[in-house]
Structures are given as C-alpha cells and as structure tokens.
Amino acid sequence: MAERLLEVKDLKVQFATVDGTVKAVDGVSFDLDRGKVLGIVGESGSGKSVTAMTLMGLTRDVNSRFEGEVLYKGKDLLQVSDAEMQQYRGAEMGMIFQDPMTSLNPVYRIGEQIVEAIRTHEKIDKRAAKNRAVELLRQVGIPNPESRVDDFPHQFSGGMRQRAMIAIALSCNPDVLIADEPTTALDVTIQAQIIELIDRLKDDFNSAVILITHDLGVVADVADEIIVMYAGNVVERAATRDLFYDPQMPYTWGLLGSIPRLDRPRPERLHSITGSPPSLINLPQGCSFRPRCPHAFDRCREKPPLENHVDPPTHLDRCWLDVEYKRAHRGDTIAGGKPEAA
C-alpha cells in the first residue's frame, strides 16, 4: 500500500471581494499517494488552480477564508503558521506554473535561481549547490547544462524554460510536485515532452504529482486518477481508465465530446458545452451544472452528493441520473457525431 501523502477533506476556499464572497472552492476532497499522478481537470474558474495554490499556502491573504482540512503527512496545512508553511514550500511540495517566461525572474541567471531554492532549505555551500543545479538541468533534459546554467531566462526557449522551472521545483526533493497547467503555454510537440518528463521524474524522485489542466488529452496518458472540477466542486472522480470508459457526469461527456478527434468521422460542428460557467458569487441552486445540462430534470434542483454509483468503488460522481440512462444517452455527446441526442 503506497504511502498516503496528502488527504484533502472538504476543502472550502472563499475570497471576500467588493462584489460579494467568491466561493472559489466549495467542498473538495481527494487523496494523493506516493508514486501516483492525480489529474485535476476543469475549465477556467472551476477552482482547480485555487485548490492547488491553497495546498501550497499561496492563497493566504487578508481576504481569504478556509474551511476543511489539508492533511499533508498527517499535518493540517491550513492551520500551520505562515513561517512554517514557508518551510514546506519547496522542501516538501514544489509547484510549477503556467507561463514559464513570466515565472522566472528576468534579471537573475537560471543557475542562481535554482541555487537560491536549494540554499533556502539546505545548508550547503554555493559551489556544491551550483553543481547540483547543473545536475538538475541535466536531469530535466537541458543540453549543455554546464554552460546553460549561467544563462538568463530570456536566453532559453519556452520548453526549456519550463524544464528549468521543473528543475527549480524539484531541487529540494519535494515529495509532491504540483504542476498547474504546465503545458498550456507551450507548443503541442513540446507538451508531450514535458508531460513525459514529469512522469519520469516522478519515478526518479519517488514523489507524487498533481497535474492540473483543462485538457483531458494531457492527463489521459500519465494520470492514475482524475478529478473533474466544476464551479468549485469535484463533480467526478475516478481512475483514469474508468473515467474515459464509463464517465458518469454529463459535464465529463461534454469535455470528452469537445476534444477534436482525428479517428472519427468529422461532425459538422465542433461540439462545445453551451452556456458559460456560473458566477462563483451566486451559484445556481442545486447541481451547479444544471443550467447547461441537456439531461437535467427536476431532481437536479437538489444538490447531488459525491457518491459511488458504479462498480469500481473509487469512481464517484455527483449526478442524480440513473446509471443505465447515462450509458444509453451519453454516446452522442462523447462520440462527437451529429448534434442530436437519442
């Protein structure tokens, strides 16, 4: 049984704004074991990034409120002081962000930025730290690391910058790596390389990965378990295979259906889920997806709990629909065929 590194229990994150209270995360629970990759999928505003940043303590602010628990190796990170949280960041949990160009300080050399991360958490002299930096760059696949270590970020290409970011995040051997949309700003060809790299490093460093994206295609290969988030809630949670072969949420069907496919007959229009995500200040009553769901019925006015309705006990979803009905009707949405339902 792999070591349970992270247990998130009913996490709620709210921000007080001039317009009202934004319920960015409204009750999210999941676990993360060592050696595993957890994918968090959702559109902009679903709360996936806020969840990730909260794990790192980066959402702490005068205007934010937290509820629930974030147990990292048994310790509730929501209760930990700012100073202590600082020690966790980088040493226990590392994070990489979406845009590597702006995420690196432009006036310091790459090597200096890696060394800074190392020396914050470990007592090690500059030379040894720099050697480690060079090795890290080698591990993330940057050619000529001995000379590149003294370059500035603007001298690196986009893919290389993201590799450098990964090197920084892993420099202190954290047990959890959180990757927030790591490939969104990169070319498609580089995307695959970066995802592969993350997967490989996870094994090399014996850590766990949380991979956040809006693109199901990105997590299909590497994730062991996937959480689908919508309007601040987890709406479906399953092992990857189960999610793709037996998706239980109409929202998930919509996501699967909107992936352009080369291996199917071309439909007349690319599918999209109609409507827009709801305001996080004024959530709809009941199921948050109801206004956009083609299969909604009157029970949906009551918010469904996250429960298991199918065989694999780890496959949870938030939908009142009958499992048989779902399996019968989801085909058209997912297949991307003519825009009609049964």
């Binding site: 505003g45 999209s272 109609t274 009553q285 109801r290 206004p291 339902a341 049964a342």
Partner: protein, 372 residues
C-alpha cells in the same frame, strides 16, 4: 424522469425551460469603463477633492463678481494714495516703511541689527472689517490681494487647463502616428522627443518665455502679442509634449502588436481607423489620467515661470507673480505670498488626489482589506 432532447442543437428546451424559471447568475461581462466607474464611485476621498477643485474653479470664475460687488475694485487698480475705513478707523492703504523686526513684523525703535528696511507697508488683511475691501490686504502697489488672488487664479487655471489640453492633444497624435507607422515617422518623432528631453523643463520654459516676451509670437499665421497669456500657455504645452508623448507611444507600441490590431488591418481598416478606433480607446484611460495630473504639473510650472518673470507678464495677475511680488514684504505682510501659495497647494493637491483616484479606478492593484 429524465426528459428527452429534441432534434435541435445543444441548446435544448429542457435546459432553456429550466433556465427560464430561475436566473442562474452567469458571469456578466462588464465593460472596463463600468468597472472603473464603480471603483471610482467608492473613492470618497477622490470625489471630495474633485469637489474642492471645482469650488476653486468656480470661485475664480466669479472673480469679476467679487471684484465688483464685494471689493469694489479691479485686480490692477492702484490705491496707493488712498485711505480706507477699517473697523471705523481711517487707515492708509499703503503706509511708509521703516525698519522692521522679523520676529514680530513690527517697527523697530532704531535700526538695530536684524531689522530689515522696508520701503512701504501696505495694509494687512481687514477680514471684512472694511466692508469687503482689502479682505486679505493690499500689496505694495495698493492693489486688493483678494481680488488679485481670484483673477490670478483665473490666469493660472486657464493656462494650466488649456496647456494640458493642447499638450495632450498633440502628444496623442504624435504617439499614435509614431507607433502606428513606425519607420521614418517613428524615427523622426522619437528623435524630436529625445532632443526636447535634453532640456530641463524649467530652463526651456525660461528660454522660450524670455525669447517671446519681448516681441510675442508671429509665425505660421498665428499672431500673439507679447503680453498675452497664450504665450505661456503655448510654451508650457510645447515643453511638456515629450513627457506625455513618449509614455503614450510606448503603450501604443505594445498595443500595436496585439492581435486585434492585426485583425482590424487584415479586414482592410484604414490607418486612420486603426489609430483612432482601435488604438486610441485602449490608451484612453492613460490619457485621462495624464490629462488630470498634467494640469496640476502645469499650474506649478506656470507659477514657477511667472515667479521668475518668464511666464505671465505684469501687470496681469497670476499666482506666481503674486508670490514674487510678496517676497520683499514677507516679514511684515506674509499673506501676500502665503495666500497665492496656499491657493496653489489646495488646487494642485486636489488635482493630484483626484488624478490618483482616477488612476486607481482605471488600473487597480492596491492591497486593501475588504471588510464584510
């Protein structure tokens, strides 16, 4: 029971029906102007100071009314040989001077050291003791300070506001042309800015001010006489153009690279259209903020130039010339310099605070606690 979908697109009746029954709050798109206005509305301090500024402007606009009905005299009328009844007592408007003690402002018994010789001493503030005449006192020429203050305000405000308008107008055009066309246009305009930047603003103002003070400006079909307040106005607008033009050009340059410009051009938009309909609205918030803040700056610049003698020419009143006039008498009649100074500070602070508030509303980032 689940309801069937119909043979249409995904906007199915069920969803539409349910949606019709209650209004789920979708995220409403709001224009940035609306958002900015909302932010500004909450800023009571900014609005208070805007109000103060408006009060100043209105007061100065009513200068002739005050002159006629309250003070009974004009800004340039000398009353040097006259008397006025203050609280019943006959007092000369301007009395002869003597040695004055700087500590007390009073006459020294003898010419002890530390006492300054002052030629003539005008009357101090009467504070309505003389029925509205010389409320703030008189200057060495026997002119009513309060009246001059209001008329001076007219001058300084006129120059400040109009010079800003002209300056911003030309700066915007130059910035748009330079950034849009690039190439030679950009090169020339940037070089022009560079050369103008080489001169300290005040020296350039002095240079132009003194050069034009003698004969006025008679070029390009424009004829302005040497005493006109259009001379300082034009000088100040000219001198400040690069200070607005260069940052605006930078902004337009970065906008120019954005896709919406490319899209517009590829749809056949003419250069004028791209410049004024695509680019200009996007720098509008900067322009508005600049305009407000530069009025403040120009008022200070005008008063400085006038103080030095290279701006407004006597006998026209300006807050700057008044401070210069009051310099010698600061020991006995500090109000001569204080009043215009305070007027300047109040006006400029109001503009600065409001301008700051505008800038915050249009581009917020401050870390402020939101209390709920």
């Amino acid at each position: 029971m689940a309801q069937q979908a119909t043979e249409t697109e995904f906007t199915l009746d069920t969803a539409a029906e349910l949606a019709a029954h209650e209004e789920p709050e979708a995220i409403r798109g709001r224009s940035p102007w609306y958002l900015a206005w909302r932010r500004l509305r909450r800023n009571y301090v900014a609005f208070f100071f805007l109000f103060v500024f408006i009060v100043v402007v209105v007061a100065c606009a009513f200068a002739p009314v005050y002159a006629k009905h309250v003070a009974g005299t004009g800004p340039n009328t000398n009353h040097i040989l006259e008397n006025v009844k203050v609280n019943g007592k006959e007092t000369p408007v301007v009395s002869s001077g003597g040695y004055i003690d700087p500590h007390t402002g009073k006459l020294c018994p003898t010419s002890q050291s530390g006492c300054k010789l002052v030629a003539s001493i005008p009357i101090g503030p009467t504070w309505f003791g003389a029925g509205g005449k010389f409320v703030l006192g008189a200057d060495q020429n026997g002119r009513d300070i309060a009246v001059r203050l209001l008329y001076g305000g007219r001058t300084s405000l006129f120059i400040g506001i109009f010079s800003s308008a002209i300056c911003v107008f030309f700066a915007v055009i130059l910035a748009l042309v330079a950034a849009y066309y690039g190439g030679w246009a950009d090169f020339t305009i940037t070089r022009f800015f560079d050369v103008m930047f080489a001169f300290p603003v005040i020296l350039l103002g002095i240079a132009l001010g003194s050069a034009l003070a003698i004969n006025g400006f008679h070029h390009f079909g424009i004829n302005i006489q040497s005493g006109s307040i259009w001379i300082p106005t034009l000088i100040i607008s000219y001198v400040l153009v690069p200070y607005i033009g260069r940052p605006l050009r930078g902004q337009v340059l970065s906008l120019r690279e954005k896709e919406f410009v490319e899209a517009s051009i590829s749809q056949g938009a003419s250069p004028l259209r791209v410049m004024f309909i695509e680019l200009l609205p996007n720098i509008a918030s900067s322009v508005i903020v600049f305009f407000t803040l530069i009025i403040a700056n120009n008022i200070l610049l005008e008063t400085a130039l006038s103080f030095l003698g290279a701006g407004v020419q006597p006998p026209t009143a300006s807050w700057g010339t008044m401070i210069a006039d009051g310099q010698n008498l600061i020991v006995t009649r500090p109000w001569l310099s204080f009043a215009p100074g305070l007027a300047i500070i109040i006006t400029v602070v109001s503009l600065n605070v409001f301008g700051d508030g505008l800038r915050d509303a249009l581009d917020p980032r401050a870390k402020v606690k939101v209390s709920h």
